[in-house]
Amino acid sequence: MSTQELSKRGAVWLDALTYSAPLQAGYPPSVRVVDARLGEHPARFIAVVPDPDNAFPRARSGEVGLIEGWEIARAVREVIDADAGREDHDKRAIVAVIDVASQAYGRREEAYGIHQALAGAADAYASARLAGHPVIGLIVGRAMSGAFLAHGYQANRLIALADSQVMVHAMGKESAARVTLRSVADLEAFTARVPPMAYDIDNYASLGLLWKLLSVRNADAPNGADQSAVEKALQEAFDEIRADPSRGLGSRLGSAHRASSVTVRRKLREQWR
């Protein structure tokens, strides 16, 4: 990962969607927080971006580390607290702009409980959703593993750009091969036959977890049409969330590839009493 060029996508899309509105002060360079609008509605946009000068050496390439997890949590909880007295239809939207390489892998991270930092972030997004805030996850680059669990996976609706650099996965290929005692070539052969193992966004879309997969011309440097398309999708997602009485994640269960997830829930309900 360290040899890869640092991704600018999170920063680029955050800036485009907020019309270069100023960053909220008081956050570290790796967590960008912008208060702007989603159509006519006020919204908070949050992105985790690479910071080559991050004090934690293992979190310099856009990973979600200790500080990033807890700062995401703070950014989300500020909105929850500020809007606590408002009616549901008045609660601000929260948009997670997602381009996260991974969680941070390091000794310091484990020592200071990075699992707890990511729980802080996931908790904040889930609590915002339960409190009635429309939460939308917009995947513009990588959405990897624990980083995605902390930043975006708790959203009411997920949108992804249809682009070869957009990917969702539980673990990088080399590590996944090592842990499952396979070669990378074997792993890749299986991904062709087993959709949940694939790394590309089209296979991911087949799992029914995305609300929408959006084609754009240039995911690295969006043109006007790209930006409009994403803004329109965000607005539609917002409207759909507002119209949906459920505050859970049930809208992700519709795909044939999740038939077992549905079967398990149905049987549990039958046997529950």
């Binding site: 050496p57 200790l66 949590a73 390091g106 484990e110 200071y112 908790d123 499952t180």
Partner: protein, 283 residues
């Protein structure tokens, strides 16, 4: 512990998932949902030439705990490293969702999760990850009504996305044998190099992520002996205590305050982590 007490003690770690659930619940109240005879297996493993298991490695046990309705979700360390596939994770998420629904209908259903898991089952990668997000969602929902108690006893411990789930629980109980951490030692070594983390250095691994250190650093609430009776007593005591004022994952300002005391340039020792984190996270 004297010899007689040692002989009379029922080890928790040595029990399989089903027996652990039985030991925790009030005697005679255990009943299993979606048991192995239902044969709801992983639809993804067979096509990769991997033998499936009839319960997919998760036991859903309904019964009573301290006379109150309860569900115990016990992960089987013996199947695929306790990893979360589509089915095993859906059994946990679906049960927690029903428990929250019960509470909304006036039934005080409680949940205990026995974390013995490496996290996502990589052979079902994205469906495991998605289902873990659903477990997270369900814990945060249910926790609003009743404490959700997590236990990690060992030998596997609790890793990956499920360590985040543990971090969302109202209370956590761990033994000395257990480890709790986001990234498994092998993966850290693969990603960051052997100087950062040597996956064969067992004492080093336990010194940072073992149950005793996690208790010392305030990342688990109860450090328990490997004794089924003692663990059941700790669970009952926490349920009687009720929901905590704030869950650990809600202590945002407190953790940021402690992390500001860390010198991120220097490599860390277990003593340093304990010195800073033992001050607590209430801000």
């Amino acid at each position: 512990m004297d010899t007689q007490a040692l002989l009379e003690r029922q080890s928790f770690i040595e029990l399989d998932a089903r027996s652990r659930a039985k030991q925790l619940l009030d005697a005679g109240t255990f009943s299993e949902l979606l048991d192995p005879f239902e044969r709801v297996r992983s639809p993804w493993l067979a096509r990769q030439g991997i033998v499936t298991q009839a319960d997919d490695g998760t036991v859903v046990a309904r019964g009573e705990l301290d006379g109150q309705p309860a569900v115990v979700l016990a992960i089987d360390a013996g199947f695929q490293g306790g990893s979360m596939g589509e089915v095993s994770a859906a059994k946990i998420a679906g049960s927690l969702e029903l428990a929250a629904e019960d509470n909304r209908n006036g039934i005080p259903m409680r949940a205990v999760i026995l974390f013995e898991t490496g996290g996502v089952r990589l052979q079902e990668a994205n469906l495991g990850l998605a289902a873990i997000a659903e477990i997270h969602a369900a814990i945060v929902d249910l926790r609003r009504y009743q404490p959700v108690i997590g236990i990690t006893a060992g030998p596997i411990g609790c890793y990956g996305g499920m360590s985040i789930a543990a971090g969302l629980c109202s209370y956590l109980i761990a033994t000395r044998e257990a480890r709790l951490g986001l990234n498994g030692p092998t993966v850290i070594e693969q990603e960051a190099g052997i100087a950062e983390f040597d996956s064969r250095a067992r004492p080093m691994i336990w010194s940072f992520t073992g149950g005793e250190q996690r208790h010392r650093t305030g990342l688990v609430d109860v450090y328990a002996a490997d004794d089924a009776g003692a663990i059941r007593a700790a669970v009952i005591e926490r349920f009687r205590a009720g929901r905590p004022e704030a869950c650990r994952s809600e202590c945002v300002a407190g953790f940021l305050q402690r992390l500001a005391e860390v010198d991120p340039e220097a490599q860390v020792t277990p003593q340093q982590a304990a010195a800073i984190y033992s001050k607590g996270f209430r801000s």
